[in-house]
């Protein structure tokens, strides 16, 4: 385990976004994935001896609600988008099978609300994905996380997956890439964002020949190196690596920001992401089996 992650794991097994904040599901999932178990295994099996991993998995299992969804943190009281991340991380680590089963069932039963398209936001209203929280709109990032989680568990053909594919492709920006929800708003064509595009590309890596996916890869190849954000570059390195692209420059830029004691910017989430990106393409847990 990287010294920064080892130092910042809380006694309860989870990680906060920052070293001095309480445990949250998202950084815990990323850190769980970033802890190397064996040097060269893509979906690395969990080592039963690794107490840190087991404690992290136990924290995630404890964050699960009776309906199978996961809270974002202990103070939370309703399940949300972090259910997908936990399912993905635990699947890739082969941990907490009962927690995974319940999370998968919740994901498949949970769908974003139907929202009609209108003159201000034009999209295919017949297809839906997942919301961030509650019975609200389809948003692209939580939809991508849900797809990743379901696919990592071996589910490739399902009406929910097919519908989510159509939703993501429908909302892609014609020039390549994705914004947050739509590709247009009040008559304005929205700009793609590297972070969102990278996460969605990971979720659509099994549709590599789809023209809109290829355009997004092109966009990300050009945009990612220009981003000043280590988070955007981290996700981009993972996504581009999954598509066989050269990510050496992105890895070099992230390596230059990684410190042994402070990680990247004293931020657990960013550090875990950078560690994952630095391991790609040799070990990329986001590469679907």
């Amino acid at each position: 385990m990287h010294p920064f992650l080892a130092r910042t794991q809380h006694a309860d097994g989870g990680w906060g976004y920052l070293p001095d904040t309480t445990s949250f599901a998202e950084p815990t999932c990323l850190a769980l994935l970033a802890v190397p178990v064996t040097p060269d295994s893509a979906p690395a099996p969990a080592s039963p001896d690794d107490a840190g991993l087991r404690k992290a998995a136990a924290w995630l299992a404890a964050a699960q609600l009776p309906d199978g969804s996961l809270r974002v943190c202990a103070e939370d009281d309703g399940g949300s988008w972090t259910t997908s991340l936990a399912l993905f991380a635990l699947t890739r680590r082969s941990l907490a099978p009962a927690c995974r089963d319940a999370a998968r069932d919740w994901l498949l039963a949970n769908q974003a609300a139907h929202v009609p398209s209108d003159a201000n936001h034009k999209f295919d209203e017949t297809v839906r994905g997942w919301a961030w929280y509650g019975n609200t709109f389809t948003w692209l990032e939580p939809t991508a996380y849900a797809l990743l989680a379901l696919k990592a568990g071996g589910l490739r053909r399902h009406t929910r997956i097919d519908e989510a594919h159509r939703a993501l492709l429908d909302r892609s920006i014609p020039s390549g890439g994705w914004n947050l929800m739509h590709n247009n708003s009040f008559g304005v064509s929205l700009e793609p964002l590297p972070r969102a595009t990278a996460i969605i590309l990971l979720a659509l890596q099994d549709l590599a020949e789809e023209p809109r996916v290829r355009k997004a890869v092109q966009y990300l190849r050009d945009a990612a190196p220009r981003s000043r954000s280590p988070v955007a570059r981290g996700w981009s390195a993972l996504a581009l690596s999954a598509f066989g692209e050269d990510v050496a420059p992105l890895r070099r830029s992230l390596a230059s920001e990684l410190r042994e004691k402070e990680g990247v910017g004293e931020n657990v989430y960013t550090t875990a992401l950078a560690l994952l990106a630095l391991d790609a393409p040799e070990r990329n847990p986001f590469l679907l089996p």
């Binding site: 906060g16 974002v72 009281d77 961030w132 008559g187 981003s227 960013t270």
Partner: protein, 341 residues
Amino acid sequence: MPERWTRRQLLLGASAAAIGASAGKLLLEHARPATAPGPSPFPDLPLARARSPVFVGRASSYGEDLSRVLHEGTTALGGFDLRGKSVLLKPNFVEYDPSRPVNTSIPVVIAAIEWARRLGAREIVVGEGPGHRRDIDEILDETSLRDALREHRVRFVDLNHDEIARVPLRTRFMGIDSLFFSKTVLRTDVVVSLPRMKTHHWTGVTLSLKNLFGTVPGVKYGWPKNFLHFHGIGRSISDIASTIRPGFAIVDGIVGMEGNGPIHGSARPAGVLVLGPDPVAVDATATRVMDLLPERIDYLRNLHGDLGVVREDQIDQRGETVASVRTPFAVLDPFRHLRRS
């Protein structure tokens, strides 16, 4: 039950029932009873039990001494006591687009830091939870806010990824009884809202009250905070503002945004800073500067008489008159009813 609650008592210690029962007692700290109720052009907006001062100061460019404008304005308002208090400066950094005045300008953020220091604040933190970009690093670096805060030795808190706590809402416009907020927001003594003066394609205008969406954690409600949209933006603003109760507002209207705000509108220089301890009155005045009618904005109407006042005859205007700085802002067609003429 005490007659006057502190923010901490309100937000961390009080039960929902107690808060609801005490709502009628919570008047503006800087209010005094109305003495001369006059006729209102909108008689359906009742006379509130308070009056509020608002200062409008001219600043034609960001190169001017904005700290001086804030200092003179605060003096004209009768002062504002931050001695020994922790202060959260909440600017609006919703997106990054170098070609448009989307965010609060850096010089105004710096001037607010200097203003709070001069008023004796014990601790100053700048915090924001952008509604669009999750990636706060990108915004901090691209806007140069990170460099500015480092230079002025002020800590930044990402309110989207902060620790969270569920808080009972003081009002029920959304139809729910509680929301999660960032703990930094809840722990601070005084929240100062620092928005850019902009029109908004869903709410008409976005000023110090709409800016409070950034106190609600994205980690819980997403990007954007769609849960709030789903309950109605105006209703959400009303409940959030009446619960968070910002202690001061400074609107950056030196260069505002008109048309398809809050992100894709056009620059509209108004050359003003609008400030005061009553965020409702500040927003109402800023709306009048934009040559729009605050009495027709749903969330301002909701908050009139509770968090602050909207009626012009209940606002003690200091500094420039609204008429002398009025700058018509274009609005999208669904908001044409906000136009004064």
